[in-house]
Structures are given as structure tokens and as C-alpha cells.
């Protein structure tokens, strides 16, 4: 019986393989020993991932298959596998991980306290990722909030890190000196689902309740509030576009309601939609919504199931219509041997320059990098 099950599963994988020849320009898969909830670029060809089990976890820097990057000379590069280039161990789970631009450092948070851990990746011919510092959070959270996220983190130039677990404990810390450079004046204490720089000095604080604050680190004035869309289910996740659709930000709720606003007029909604997600299975803390840096008006949404969905938001109107994804990456769902409902995508990340290349990770430890074929227009 087990043998037959294996044959059937292999048959499914074979069907999937033939399908991928048509739907992807490239697709490479990797299997981690333990799943990751974070994927973060540390260079043009490397990403950092880390486990989230309750005790010790691995933190790894992976090099993407070089074959992916060999454009015309694809044949010249035989390297079709991910490679672990650096590794280390953490004391606890990693719920948030950010690379500090211009350095070989990453900053993590375990989702239990608001403190951050600072790591240095490699250096001096070492292949180790080692703990080299910490940053104290503004205050210790007294109780576990609904959001599993703990502190959210955003990093910018000069080793400056913006972090906080709630809207009223956000601070900008200089990593090397430990100096606190800025704290916004906030009146409410909303648990955060994201922190993100949209320019050198302006950042967005997305709250789980759907509120979004826009603040400028140079100004002492209170941040602008874009209130949560009324009457929708919580929690919400936010992402601001930095590249192709720069100036917009999007909010997505746990029921799949999406709302786009403009940074210059954050109080109003520009467009809305009802995404085709299986909201019953939504696992807060694992939902990721992100704008494509190099593909106009496109967003990637994951965490509701074992799929990563790409939506083109350009057709959205003022009234929330049900919209269909432009593309769905089914790789994690198809190749997982667990029951269909069990595997879910824990994280997804766009390539900063390649328009249709993404990375995705799932709860079964799989990590995929894929470059999908847009089949909506006749020829690419």
C-alpha cells in the first residue's frame, strides 16, 4: 500500500514537472532540514534563512543556484543547486530577520521579547554566522499579543536599525554605538505587523489592527495615521512599494480584503479588491504581502495556503471585486508529502531586479526560487 502511494506521489510530481516546463522559465528547489519563516537578501545572489522552533535553530546564508543568473550562457553554468555558504546557531526562534545594507550583518528577533540579536556573516575566511551583539527593545512586552511577530525590523544606511513590537515602542538605533537616534511620538499602542523604510528617511509602521503610520525620522512631528479600513477582520499586513509601484502601499486582511492607498494621500483608498485566498487556513505571522520591485502594479501574497499568488493590481477599482491571481506558484503544495491542507508558505521574497523572479519558503522546509512565465499576453 505504501509502495503504491509512493508511485502515485511520484506520478503527481512527474505531472508537475511537465507543467513547470511551460509555466516557469526557471525553477530550482531546495530542502532545509527545518523550515524557515524568513528569507532576506544579503547580496545579489545570497539569502539568509533561519529556523523558528522553540529552542536552538540554524541560521544559514544560502547561495542561489548560479544557473539562474547565467542569462545567455545558461549552459555554461552547471551549478543548479542551492549551496550553504555560511551557517550558525541561534538560541531561540527567528521570527524576523533583516540585512543591514552595506554590511555583512543581519539583525533578528525571536518573537518572544522586543530585543534584537545582531549577527555577522562570515568574514576572515570563516564560514560561520556568529552573534556579535544585541539591541535592547524599548520595553519588554508584558504579555504575548495576538501577533506572533514580536519586534518588526527595518534597516537603513549607516547601520541604523528601526525596530519595535508596538507602535509606541518604535525606535531607531545606531548599531555600532547603541545610540538611540529617534523615537516617534505615538499616541496609541498598536501591535505592529511591519516596519519599512520607503525612502531614506520616511518609514511606514503597519499595525495588526490595520492602522498604518507614516513617519519621517528627521521630523519631530507626530506620524501621519492612515486608519484601518472599517469593518474588516483583523489582522492586517502591509507593504509599501519601493520600486516599480513606488508611492503606493497596500493592506491585506486575514479575510483576503486588499486596499491600496497612496503615500501622499494616505487617508483615502485608491483601489480595493477581494483576493482569492483560502482565508480559513490563514496563519497569522506567516502571511507575506509584497510589491514587485520590477514589475509594475504587481504584488505577491502568501501564507494563506501552500500557494504563492501574484496579482496585478492595475485593474482594481474603488469597489472590492473578487480578483483572480495573475499567477499561482503551486510548487510547495504539490511537492509536499503531507496532507493537502497542511503545508503553507511561510515567506516569500521578490528578486530586486529580475521582474518575475521570487523566492518562497514553506512549513515543510522547502525553499524554491522561480522565474515564472507570464501567459496572459501572447509573447513575452
Amino acid at each position: 500500500m505504501a509502495e503504491r502511494g509512493e508511485a502515485d506521489f511520484n506520478d503527481i510530481l512527474d505531472d508537475w514537472f511537465i507543467e513547470t516546463l511551460k509555466t516557469y522559465k526557471d525553477l530550482h528547489v531546495y530542502q532545509l532540514e527545518h523550515p524557515t519563516q524568513v528569507i532576506e537578501w544579503t547580496s545579489g545572489k545570497t539569502v539568509c534563512v533561519a529556523g523558528y522552533s522553540s529552542s536552538k535553530n540554524e541560521i544559514l546564508e544560502l547561495q542561489l543556484p548560479l544557473k539562474l543568473f547565467a542569462e545567455e550562457n545558461k549552459g555554461l553554468c552547471a551549478e543548479r543547486d542551492f549551496k550553504v555558504v555560511h551557517g550558525g546557531f541561534t538560541e531561540g526562534p527567528v521570527r524576523c530577520l533583516r540585512h543591514v545594507p552595506g554590511t555583512r550583518c543581519v539583525v533578528t528577533n525571536d518573537g518572544l521579547t522586543s530585543d534584537l540579536q545582531v549577527w555577522t556573516v562570515g568574514g576572515d575566511d570563516s564560514d560561520v554566522i556568529r552573534r556579535t551583539g544585541s539591541v535592547a527593545g524599548r520595553k519588554t512586552r508584558k504579555k504575548k499579543s495576538d501577533s506572533e511577530g514580536g519586534s518588526r525590523i527595518a534597516a537603513r544606511h549607516s547601520s541604523q536599525v528601526l525596530h519595535g513590537a508596538q507602535s509606541d515602542d518604535i525606535q531607531l538605533t545606531q548599531l555600532t554605538s547603541g545610540q538611540i537616534l529617534y523615537t516617534p511620538e505615538m499616541t496609541s499602542s498598536d501591535p505592529l505587523s511591519s516596519l519599512q523604510f520607503v525612502s531614506d528617511d520616511v518609514f511606514l509602521a503597519g499595525c495588526c489592527n490595520g492602522n498604518v503610520y507614516i513617519a519621517d525620522t528627521r521630523a519631530s512631528a507626530s506620524p501621519q495615521l492612515s486608519p484601518a479600513p472599517p469593518g474588516e477582520s483583523v489582522p492586517w499586513w502591509t507593504d509599501a512599494a519601493a520600486g516599480a509601484s513606488s508611492g503606493s502601499f497596500i493592506r491585506v486582511s486575514s479575510s483576503g480584503r486588499a486596499e491600496i492607498s497612496d503615500l501622499r494621500n494616505p487617508g483615502a483608498a485608491v483601489s480595493r479588491a477581494q483576493l482569492s485566498v483560502q482565508s480559513r487556513r490563514c496563519n497569522p505571522g506567516h502571511v507575506t504581502v509584497s510589491w514587485a520591485p520590477a514589475l509594475n502594479d504587481c504584488i505577491a501574497v502568501s501564507g494563506f495556503s501552500g500557494l504563492v499568488q501574484i496579482y496585478n493590481t492595475s485593474g482594481w477599482g474603488a469597489e472590492p471585486q473578487e480578483v483572480q491571481p495573475l499567477f499561482e506558484h503551486r510548487g510547495h503544495a504539490v511537492s509536499s508529502q503531507s496532507d493537502e491542507g497542511d503545508v503553507f508558505v511561510t515567506s516569500q521574497l521578490w528578486h530586486p531586479e529580475r521582474p518575475r523572479t521570487l523566492l518562497s519558503a514553506a512549513s515543510d522546509g522547502s525553499v524554491h526560487v522561480w522565474d515564472w512565465v507570464d501567459q496572459s499576453d501572447g509573447d513575452r
Binding site: 506520478d11 512527474d14 514537472f17 511537465i18 516546463l21 511551460k22 545558461k74 549552459g75 512565465v373 509573447d379
Partner: protein
Amino acid sequence: MMCIKQIFSRTHRLKVGQVLEAAFTSSRCFHGEQQVSRESSALPIIHHSRYVCDLPPNHRFPMGKFPRVLHFLIKDQVITEEQVWVPEIASKELLSCVHTEEYLNDFFIGKINEQEQRRTGFPWSEGIVRRCRYETGGTVLAAEVALQRGLACSTAGGTHHAFPSYGSGYCLLNDLAVAAKYLMGVSSHKRKILIVDLDVHQGDGTAFIFKEEPCVFTFSVHCGKNFPLRKQQSDLDISLDDGMEDNEYLSTVETHLPLLLETFRPDLVLYDAGVDPHWEDELGRLRLTDQGLYQRDLYVMKTVVSRGVPVAAVIGGGYSRDNDKLALRHSILHRAATQVWRDCGM
């Protein structure tokens, strides 16, 4: 059999059509559209311009490679036009020796549902039906000519993932199976056919088709992690690990082929010389070089021919976004065959 030998010897050139209408009672005839009418004592190359058909733009299958293989062989003066034999389109009757009537009927008229089409990798079209039939006809002709001349190569062929009632993995009809079944014959003294499938993907369709047939021996050397993951059982399967290079690969073939020839004693070898074990292949997970492929093909054909066994070769699989590079890689087979033809004084 004697008649054929006389008629198709070098000094007597007759058109196949004329021969057919002549005194053949046992219907052994070449499935060629036109006979090579001029003196050609060189290596027979089987090719049809209709080995190709149109595909939707950006389709992954390298359809353009087929005419380019012939183009490069002629351009590089490896062969001349005179060596080219042109196959007939495979009839439904011929195909039915392997494929089910229901599948053939549906396939010919396009009654293949979306799920089935998806597994093949091709959207159905009349063009694809036609090109598959010509390709199969080409492999059959190559086998027939090989029986007469000792060695023949097609510029297509190797569609080994096709099963009797469905297609899979860019294969819609199983040309090797049809050729083997047809050439096996039906008389009490069946020919023994050895299928040597060195495409990097297991010849699962062929293995399945001849599972219970003692007169056809299926031998497949493939990469374990390549498609299909659901493997069939050939008479001899050698499953290789990722990344194998020239020397180890060659040793593997050298370990098994002579022994097979010795014990099975085939009357004909069908050789699938897929180039997807090449390190540049987009799908294959091995690391052969051009030189490795050449040595492999040279070894296989020479070993078989020097035992007095005829061999018909097909190009098998190869995947690349550069059709010219790929076609050149496929033409390694014909270059090696030309070398064998010379070395063995054929």
C-alpha cells in the same frame, strides 16, 4: 528476405514504389517515400522536412533542432544530400502494433482531453500528429535500412515516454517500440531486438510496452533524479547519480553492453543516443562533455557493428534554448556513425 537483398544492393537501383507493385507477396517493404536513387554507398541518414511542426510562441520544446541537425551535417561536409533517405508517414495500421486503436483514433482527430494534453507537454494540433507520424516512420525506415546496410541514423526519434494508450513528456507515439515491434515480425522465427536507450530520462514507455516480450530487450541508462520519477522496469535499468562525468559514464556503458550482446544475441539494435546527459543540458542532471558523447556513440555503434549486428540510431532527447548549439550536439551521433562506417569498411 533474399529478394530484398538483391533488389536493394548497390548495383540495382529501383524505386520503392515500383518494387512494391512488383512481385512482393510477403509484404516486406521499406517505409520510404522515395528510394535513394543515386549511387550512395555512404552512411544512410533518415530525414524528413516534416519532422517539424509549428508550436505556440515560446514553447519549451526545441522543435527547430531537427532541420538544423541535417543542416550542420551537410554544411560541415560530414554527409551529402545523396545519403538522405526520406521516410513515409507511419500509417495507423503500423502504429497499431504498439498503440491502442482507441488512442490512435482519438489522437488522429484531436480527441485528447486537457489533462492528457498537459502530461504530454504539447497542445494538440494536426501538425503535431503529422510530425510524430513522420518521426516514427523515420525510425522504422532507419531500422529497415540498418538491416540491409548495417548502420543507419535518423535526424529525429527517441520518443520513449509514450505508452500504448497515452503520451507523456513530449512523446506522443513510441517510435522505438513501433520499430521494434514491426521489425520483430510475426513469424515463428522472430527477430530479437535490443533497445539501447542512453537518453538521460528512463525509457519508461518502451520498458512498459515490452515488459512481457522476450524478443525485445530494453536497456536504459538514465539519471535517477530525472523525469520520470515514477519508473517502469526495463529488462536492465542502470540508474545513475547526479553529476556523473565522461569516464565513469563510459565505464558504465562498457560494463553492460558487450555482455548484453553476448547473452541476448540480438538481430538488431535500436540505439537512442539522447544528448541530454550533457552537462549543458537544461533538464539533464549529468555532466558529459561533447567528447564524452562522441566516445559513447562511437563505442556503442562500433561494438555492435563489429559483432555483425545492425544498428539503427535515433537522436533522442536534448534540451536547450539555443537550437543551433543543440543541433550540433545531436549531430555528434551522425559524425560518430560516419567514423564507424569508415572504420568498419561498410
